[in-house]
Structures are given as structure tokens and as C-alpha cells.
């Protein structure tokens, strides 16, 4: 019981980067435990996926061919059966919207403890998992001496494994209980779009919940007018329908890479940061000096946006 099993993620025929990141994380863990690294790929074109997943450090790739794409009932059953048959010490699943739709069910079906959104994994007699709490202001470590645990892993925390491997490929005959499949995925739909494409902008001013009221948005719009910046926002602003969804930066919105990104009244939640961290230069204006946005900002102003922004407008004018 010292092996690691990781579950690959793919969508519409393409493997997601997180799959290769999990291979890196899984290999580190397998080394620490002196065990093998297994990769599971479920549904879709499993043979071509398996070929692509044959990266350095992978011992065995298990394919389960039971449909075209993701179905959480099939995934739950297949991963549970694989874990029963391989008895890995740890099962690693992506902490993505897809992973969130089956990992907790797998853990519950296996009667395993579950730790989600891991940013660090260590093994030294027991497994320890680091994760964030309180909107990324604190980190905690969770330890488990359980003989098997399920862990979901945050995307973009481990580098992907790029080099080729020499894994064995095994077609796993999962015994899927058809009667327990109570969901059907019928399609996909693009939601963003809207009035503007912020992903091409060179200079972005982005506004968050610190703006408090829809009426106050005018202040930020004026700043954009005088500076020529493109206006973007964090999720709550778009959830409130104060700005269109097309202006949302982050995991479930757009990725942006401007020369300058000015975050105003944005705390810096991981789902926001994932969409803007590759900006050339980041400036944060926030009245909370402990806001996580300052951890990734190059420049910061700890202050009240309702004082700083008017002064900035005046300065530029």
C-alpha cells in the first residue's frame, strides 16, 4: 500500500494540463513512499490519451472505456474500483469543477478521508497536505495516517511532466453498474463573450467588491476614461450584473496578460489570481495590508480606494 493513483482530466478530446501536473505531484509522492505511480484515464479516446500520458515516472496507465466524455457516476464507480483493486496509499484528483463533481463521492464510497485543494504534499510515515484557508490569508496542514486517502490538487501548483516515459498500459475492465448512472451530460455551452474582449488588452484596471455599490463604479469608469485602461472585474461584480460576464477575470472568466494590471478592491482569491498572474506588472490598491493580492503584486498601495482613485484621476488629468 505505497502506490499513488492519479486520475487524468480531459475535455472535448483534449487532455488538460492538470493531468501532467498530477503526474509530477504523484511521482514525488510515489518516490517518498517508495511505490509505483498509476495513472487512470477514463472515457474518450483512451488509447490516444494513454499514449500522451506516457510521461516520465509513470509506471502503469489504466484505461477505462465507458463512454465519450465525463460522467460523474461512471468516474466515481471506475475510480472506486481501481482504488479497490490497486490499493494505492493516495488517490490524486484535480481540484477543478470536474474533480469537485466526483472526488468527494469517491472518497465517501471508499470510506476514505478526503483533503481538497492541496498546494503541497509530503510523506514521511504519514501523509501531510498543505492547503489554504480564510480566502488565502492562512495556510493549514492536514495530516493523515489513514491507509488510503483521496486528495484533490490545485491546478498550476506543480510543473507538468514533459518528457516521455515507458509505462505499461492496462485496459481496466470496470464493472459499471448501469442502474447507478443517474446523470447524463448532454453538451457544452460557452458563456462569456459580451461587449468586449479583455484578453487582448495591454492596460487593465480591474475592480472588485471593495467598490461596494454599483453607483460607485462610475469612479473606476472615469479612471479608465482618463488613462485609456480597459475595465475588468472580479467575479462578484459580474455576479451582481454590474458589469458583463465578459469582463470577469479568473478561473471561470478570462485569462489576461496585460503590461499593467491594476487591481482595485480585489482580495486576490486563487480563482481570480489564476486569470491575471501572468500580467507583466501588477499593482494593487487595497485597504487591507494582509490581503493576498499583495503577495503577487509588484507595487501596492495600502489605502482606501475612495481616496486613492480620485487622487489618481486628478494626477493623470
Amino acid at each position: 500500500m505505497s502506490d499513488t493513483l492519479v486520475v487524468a482530466e480531459h475535455r472535448r478530446g483534449e487532455l488538460e494540463d492538470i493531468s501532467y501536473e498530477l503526474i509530477t505531484a504523484g511521482r514525488e509522492l510515489a518516490d517518498a513512499m517508495d511505490g509505483d505511480l498509476h495513472v487512470a484515464v477514463i472515457n474518450g479516446d483512451v488509447d490516444s490519451h494513454a499514449e500522451q500520458l506516457d510521461r516520465d515516472g509513470v509506471d502503469t496507465i489504466h484505461t477505462v472505456d465507458y463512454g465519450k466524455g465525463f460522467n460523474h457516476d461512471v468516474y466515481t464507480q471506475a475510480v472506486t474500483e481501481l482504488a479497490d483493486s490497486l490499493s494505492p496509499r493516495t488517490v490524486l484528483i484535480p481540484h477543478t469543477a470536474t474533480g469537485m463533481d466526483y472526488a468527494p463521492a469517491v472518497a465517501n464510497a471508499l470510506d476514505n478521508p478526503l483533503v481538497t485543494d492541496a498546494i503541497d504534499l509530503q510523506y514521511d510515515e504519514e501523509l501531510t497536505v498543505a492547503r489554504e484557508m480564510y480566502s488565502s490569508k492562512l495556510e493549514s496542514v492536514i495530516a493523515t495516517d489513514s491507509t488510503q486517502a483521496v486528495v484533490t490538487v490545485r491546478p498550476a501548483e506543480w510543473p507538468p511532466t514533459e518528457s516521455d516515459g515507458s509505462a505499461a498500459i492496462d485496459a481496466f475492465e470496470a464493472e459499471i453498474d448501469e442502474a447507478a448512472i443517474t446523470s447524463t451530460v448532454t453538451g457544452f455551452e460557452e458563456t462569456v463573450g459580451g461587449d468586449i474582449d479583455i484578453s487582448e488588452a495591454d492596460f487593465i484596471v480591474s475592480v472588485g467588491r471593495g467598490i461596494e455599490d454599483e453607483e460607485n463604479l462610475e469612479l473606476i469608469e472615469r479612471l479608465c476614461d482618463v488613462t485609456g485602461a480597459t475595465l475588468a472585474a472580479s467575479r462578484p461584480i459580474c455576479d451582481n450584473e454590474w458589469l458583463s460576464k465578459g469582463r470577469q477575470v479568473g478561473q471561470s472568466g478570462k485569462d489576461v496578460t496585460p503590461d499593467v494590471y491594476v487591481a482595485i478592491g480585489i482580495s486576490g482569491a486563487v480563482q481570480h489570481v489564476s486569470g491575471m498572474k501572468n500580467s507583466e506588472r501588477i499593482v494593487a490598491i487595497n485597504n487591507d495590508s494582509t490581503a493576498p493580492i499583495f503577495d503577487i503584486a509588484d507595487y501596492g498601495i495600502v489605502g482606501d480606494l475612495f481616496e486613492v482613485v480620485p487622487a489618481l484621476i486628478e494626477e493623470v488629468e
Binding site: 448532454t186 460557452e190 455576479d239 486613492v308 487622487a311
Partner: protein
């Protein structure tokens, strides 16, 4: 149809706090209704107003303080509330998803809802796991991270859209009964009206111990232990511009000119 909504009071850290071992002193924490749960309540109450659902029951696991939060749910239109707490629960360092799953499963068994709503995650510990684990435990269907819900009770189906990454949504049909984990933005949560707040005072809020639910302390067993809590070290070298607003604004303006994103 009967809807059960699980809600949580979450703790928020201010800009000044101290870590004391594995906890944070309550002095440094503010408490509020979990953002995601606000949307879950709205979804259930809207269905009740449309007569698709005839009763909305909210359940929370929390201390007496959390009654304020749960009254908020009643004021927004939920019909009655259950609060679960006792000394054994109070003594747990960190309430792990598996514990919440077992406790909520017993509430589902007693209440027999047709649909259960939870938030995608709670803001403070962000496990994002309870809803789907609960569904597996009670043998319900489920859908996680839902941004659109269309119930067809006659067909016994919920049509949902699940939010994926990068603006993509998955269209899925789930058989009822089901647990739906609600994502922010699915609706526009209402504010409680004064009348709602008054009425909430009259609504039933039952406080139950594990014993009342027919559970024993073994539901609090976990193979997980919280062993450390700390402020992450930052690797970045952030230049903080200090001074009065006009001074910091001047620094920022000259930075913008230097980087040539604005004209000098």
C-alpha cells in the same frame, strides 16, 4: 416537493489577527452567512414562490451565535430551520467534510427532502466537498458548481448547467432526488424585508444534538488531523508606496507613465 438547504455561518479574518496554536481567537473574526449559501437559499425560496417546492427547510451545524445567520435565511423566506450543536461537536478542532456529511445524512433521513441545496464551498475553510459527499452517502443524484437549474418534478429530472473553467458550461440532466451545489451568480439573492425579519422570529428553529438525531459521537471520528496553521510566507517583493493618497497616487501615475501605458 420539499427542499432542504444546508447553510453555514463563516468566519472572516480582518486585517489584524493572531494565530493561537491551531485556532484564531474569536476577537479577530467576523461572522456572516456563507456567500454561496445565500444563492442556495434564494434558489430554494424562488422555487417555493413558484409553487414548485412546498417547503423549504434550512439546516446548519453551528453554535448559538449562528442563529443570527439562520434567522437571515428564515427572513428571506425559508419555512423553518434546524440547528445542530452539542458539546461533542463544539469540541472538534476542525469540522471535516466527512463529519458534516454524516450529520447532514441523518437530517436528510429524518426530513426526506426531494432536493438538497448546498453552496459550492464555504468561504472560510473552502473544502468544496460536503454536497457531493452527502449525495453519495444518501444515494441521491448530484450536480456540483451549478449556475442554472431547471426542475421538472413530473419527469423526476433536474436540468442543470455546471460551470467549468474559462467560461465553459456543461449541460447535464440529473435524476431526482438530488443534491445541487450552487455557484454564485446563479440568481440575485434578495435582501430580507422588514416584514420577513419580523416573520422570521415566529418561525420554528429547532436545536438538535447528535443524540436527538439518533447519532453518537463516532460521527465525529476522522483520520484527518489539523496539525499546523500559519501565515504563508510570501516570496514576492512588493514595493509598497507609502504616504497620503495624493502622494501614493502620484507614485502610481508616474509608474504608469514610465511603463508607457499612459502618455506623459
Amino acid at each position: 416537493m420539499k427542499a432542504l438547504v444546508s447553510v453555514a455561518e463563516v468566519a472572516e479574518l480582518g486585517d489584524d489577527f493572531e494565530i493561537d496554536g491551531l485556532t484564531i481567537d474569536e476577537r479577530y473574526l467576523g461572522y456572516s452567512l456563507n456567500e454561496w449559501d445565500d444563492y442556495a437559499i434564494e434558489e430554494a425560496v424562488t422555487l417555493s414562490e413558484a409553487d414548485v417546492v412546498d417547503e423549504v427547510v434550512v439546516v446548519t451545524i453551528g453554535p448559538e451565535r449562528s442563529e443570527q445567520t439562520i434567522r437571515e435565511a428564515l427572513a428571506k423566506g425559508a419555512d423553518r430551520a434546524i440547528r445542530i450543536w452539542d458539546d461533542a461537536v463544539a469540541n472538534v478542532d476542525a469540522l471535516m467534510p466527512e463529519m458534516k456529511t454524516r450529520i447532514l445524512a441523518s437530517v436528510v433521513e429524518a426530513e426526506e427532502p426531494d432536493i438538497v441545496f448546498t453552496g459550492v464551498q464555504s468561504d472560510d475553510d473552502a473544502w468544496g466537498a460536503t454536497g457531493v459527499a452527502l449525495a453519495e452517502e444518501i444515494d441521491f443524484g448530484w450536480a456540483a458548481v451549478v449556475t442554472e437549474l431547471d426542475l421538472e418534478p413530473d419527469d423526476g429530472v433536474a436540468h442543470v448547467r455546471r460551470e467549468l473553467e474559462g467560461g465553459l458550461e456543461e449541460v447535464t440532466a440529473v435524476e431526482l432526488p438530488a443534491v445541487i451545489t450552487i455557484q454564485t451568480g446563479i440568481n440575485q439573492p434578495r435582501y430580507a424585508s422588514l416584514r420577513g425579519i419580523r416573520q422570521a422570529q415566529q418561525k420554528e428553529l429547532a436545536v438538535k444534538s447528535l443524540d436527538d438525531l439518533g447519532l453518537n459521537e463516532s460521527v465525529l471520528d476522522s483520520e484527518l488531523a489539523l496539525t499546523e496553521l500559519y501565515e504563508p510566507e510570501t516570496e514576492s517583493e512588493t514595493t509598497i508606496w507609502d504616504g497620503e493618497p495624493d502622494e501614493t497616487a502620484a507614485e502610481l501615475a508616474s509608474f504608469l507613465r514610465e511603463t508607457e501605458v499612459i502618455e506623459s
